[in-house]
Symmetry: C2
Subunit: 274 residues, 2 copies
């Protein structure tokens, strides 16, 4: 049986940053089952005390010191959190002090400055990119296709839609996606609308057995989902992309974050949202 | 003129975590204009040396030490990065050592474990949630509406779609969204399909002048976009939500991340994706 350990993500804001950092650190430890609790918006001493009680209860129940990832801008709240019965790792404290020294200015010590909606330009880029991406999902229209920053192609269920949405939401990049359908594969030709835009086209591929598994959940026992057909489609799509000079990534071994970042980076796009 | 400072995010993987942490720290410093460069997939000594050159060039050009947020699992690559001419803040080093001591095990020191696609269950939750959310955008169908974890309502352009997509992608939560249209507002009644599902319904509101601004970009000089109509719709929608006992958040002052996290937290939903 694996060891279990409670992990708390305590933040004065959404907790998204501490969760990301904490989770990426925890992936480095094998054989331990982490029980995660996120506590967002802990921005007062009273709330910090409540959080402390809950963390102490987890300690009492398990007999093991919980791990607490926290980010506290307010000094009094942070002081309260450091009294918690657990290993407390405070992002803010460990980094803000060397930054203050380097920059030669005091930090604002103000809560709620990240993920800020205050930046109307950022927000507009994001919304515009999401709207564009929704309107250009699954090849529904060729209208304004030339305005896309990236056009993603691949067989049905290769992961195009979530990758495009991620790029739109997180980077503010306009993406379109276009399925490679059996007719394209038979003709060994890109959909004609994409030919003049080839420099923006990227591909996704996928392992045939994974595709078979995904399609089976959607349409069990269909030709569409059969392993044989998945093998044929993947093989033909990869040939078509290679022959057309379209770079492609394999979505089997990569997360949506990784696919999106690879494409942004390789295509040398500049993100419009921070 | 504000001071300028170069900031580099250098990671052996996507760089998403270092960017998030770094950006949330930088928001604490006013009056400095940060010039950001992300360098993902720096996972060899050669690549680290290239990165080092680029960072040194930025130093030479500006005369100011760049700030380098980095996360390096490999010790040799990390050692190379610490030689960089800048303030180097390494996430991995600062946190992994205390964690090793606390957990009593050595870390795996393996790259590419976060945002992993390896977890097929996580991936499926994500895709399922995204598909559900796309199929239930803007009230297009009531089919399987009871399977939603959250149903978001609000006037047109109040931010429902991006918030729903964020929840689906990041938390694996199934969301539907439903516009409050002039007919609903006139009748002062929720769309009938939502009445039996009221416990899952959350609202978004927005400042009328912001709504006016957003709608004007879409349909200039229309009644739909007029400030007067925006005031009427927002006011009526807030009355309707209050009267129906539907909790609502204001999207004007909150980012998509904040809206999504608030709702997840307040509705006591458990995220299905880490």
């Amino acid at each position: 049986m694996p060891t279990r350990r409670s992990v708390f993500f305590v933040s004065d804001r959404t907790g998204i940053t501490v969760e990301m950092l904490g989770n990426s650190l925890l992936t480095q430890f094998d054989g331990i089952e982490f029980k995660r609790v996120t506590m967002p918006f802990i921005d007062s001493i009273d709330k910090a005390r409540e959080a402390k009680l809950q963390i102490s209860a987890a300690f009492a129940e398990s007999g093991k010191r919980p791990i607490v990832f926290t980010s506290q801008v307010d000094e009094a709240v942070r002081a309260e959190m450091t009294k918690v019965d657990g290993l407390v790792l405070d992002l803010f404290e460990r980094f803000i002090v060397p930054l203050e020294e380097e920059l030669g200015v005091a930090s604002a010590h103000a809560i709620g400055r990240s993920h800020s909606a205050g930046n109307f330009k950022d927000y507009n880029h994001r919304i515009e990119a999401v709207n564009y991406t929704l309107a250009h999902d699954d090849g529904v229209t060729n209208r304004n296709l030339d305005q896309a920053d990236i056009i993603l192609v691949g067989v049905s269920r290769s992961g195009k839609t979530p990758t495009c949405l991620y790029m739109a939401l997180q980077f503010g990049v306009k993406t379109a996606n276009y399925p490679l359908i059996p007719e394209d594969l038979e003709a060994m030709k890109l959909p004609p609308a994409l030919v003049p835009l080839k420099s923006k086209v990227w591909g996704l591929s996928i392992a045939p057995d994974r595709l078979h598994q995904i399609r089976t959940e959607r349409k069990p026992d269909s030709k569409y989902a059969s392993l044989e057909n998945c093998k044929y489609e993947v093989d033909a799509a990869e040939k078509l992309m290679t022959q057309s000079g379209i770079p492609f990534l394999n979505s089997t071994a990569k997360s949506i974050e990784e696919l999106a970042t690879h494409i942004l980076h390789e295509a040398q796009l500049v993100r419009r949202v921070y």
